[in-house]
């Protein structure tokens, strides 16, 4: 993974968690992180740091800041919506959050499948350990069916999927897959960590959709 790709992933994450916030607040955070990512890559390259280390550093900063991102978002959203939303707006926000959750979950699953087929996630290309990721995807699919695609159940299904993804990384490390050529502990933890973060991000969106679900009797105003 190049630093630009990981920076792009961070930029998308920022756009995701600032969605629905007042435009000025969202844009400030987006611009600020964009400048930070640019400065980070430029600084490390100027100091001769390898692309892999830069990418890992950026990914690690994103992962370590996830909890703070969620808490910051919560505070901003609370400040922006101190008054309850009218049902039409609540319904719109609910749909947006649900669709975003579906989009992130599907994109993450497709990205995982592509990575398995193209270069392999664990060990060298074609390593049978990659087949464990079908189990991860199965957890998500079965969870979604059991939840009957309702937002709160989908949030739990995606959290279970993220846990399964983390479990695969642990199994791979116990099995010594990090000793394969071109593999390392950082690579297995970093790559799987990105997928865990994406699945957790999707779960968070479904949770938001569940919270913003308007009451059953809230129809459009006359």
């Amino acid at each position: 993974m190049t630093p630009e790709r990981v920076a792009g992933l961070v930029a998308r994450w920022v756009r995701l968690y600032t969605r629905g916030l007042p435009a000025a607040i969202a844009q400030r955070r987006i611009d600020e992180i964009d400048a930070d990512l640019y400065d980070h890559v430029a600084h490390e390259r100027a100091h001769g740091t390898s692309d892999w280390r830069i990418a890992a550093g950026i990914g690690s900063r994103m992962l370590r800041g996830l909890a703070a991102d969620a808490s910051w978002r919560g505070r901003q959203a609370k400040a922006a919506t101190d008054h309850p939303l009218p049902p039409e707006k609540a319904m719109r926000n609910h749909k947006t959050a649900y669709r975003s959750g579906v989009g992130v979950a599907i994109a993450t699953a497709l990205f995982l499948l592509w990575l398995m087929g193209a270069v392999g996630v664990i060990g060298v290309e074609g390593d049978r350990a990659d087949l464990m990721y079908f189990g991860v995807l199965a957890v998500g699919v079965v969870g979604a069916v059991i939840a009957r695609f309702r937002p709160s159940g989908m949030a739990r299904a995606l959290l279970a999927t993220a846990s399964a993804q983390a479990l695969v990384a642990v199994i791979a490390l116990i099995a010594g897959k990090h000793q394969a050529p071109n593999a390392s502990v950082a690579e297995i933890v970093g790559l799987n960590g990105i997928f865990v973060a994406l699945f957790v991000g999707s779960a968070w969106l479904f949770r938001r959709a569940a919270r913003r679900q308007p009451p059953a009797n809230a129809g459009p105003r006359a």
Binding site: D39, S60, M62, G65
Partner: protein, 121 residues
């Protein structure tokens, strides 16, 4: 992240103020997010930079407390890169940073968490 006692700063926030004070002492009043993360890494001797979310959330809290101010840098200074948000210590911010540094002793990272005027977080 540790819980905040009402009216006090978190260790990370004190660390940010201390780094900002060092930047100010070196003759540069304004600093930006990545530059600050770099300074903090050097001062603490850590191998990794502060997480994006952790850093910018703390910066926005310090701004809310009136210890920092911020503005966008002039577009003329940008030269083909994204423009940076520039932060500066306020008078109160510099005072709080100096108190924390004095409490920690010479050459030490700020240890005690100074009380500040704003209410609980």
């Amino acid at each position: 992240m540790p819980r905040r006692k009402p009216g006090t700063l978190l260790p990370l926030e004190t660390e940010i103020l201390d780094a900002a004070l060092s930047t100010l002492s070196s003759g540069q009043a304004a600093f930006h997010g990545f530059g600050l993360a770099q300074t903090m890494r050097e001062q603490s001797g850590s191998r990794s930079l502060t997480g994006h979310g952790t850093l910018y959330k703390a910066l926005s809290r310090l701004e809310e407390f009136g210890l920092l101010t911020s503005r966008w840098e002039d577009t003329d200074a940008v030269e083909g890169r994204p423009r940076r948000r520039l932060y500066e210590l306020t008078g109160q911010g510099a005072q709080v940073a100096e108190q924390a540094r004095a409490a920690a002793g010479p050459g030490q990272a700020p240890g005690r968490l100074p009380r500040i005027a704003p209410g609980p977080a």
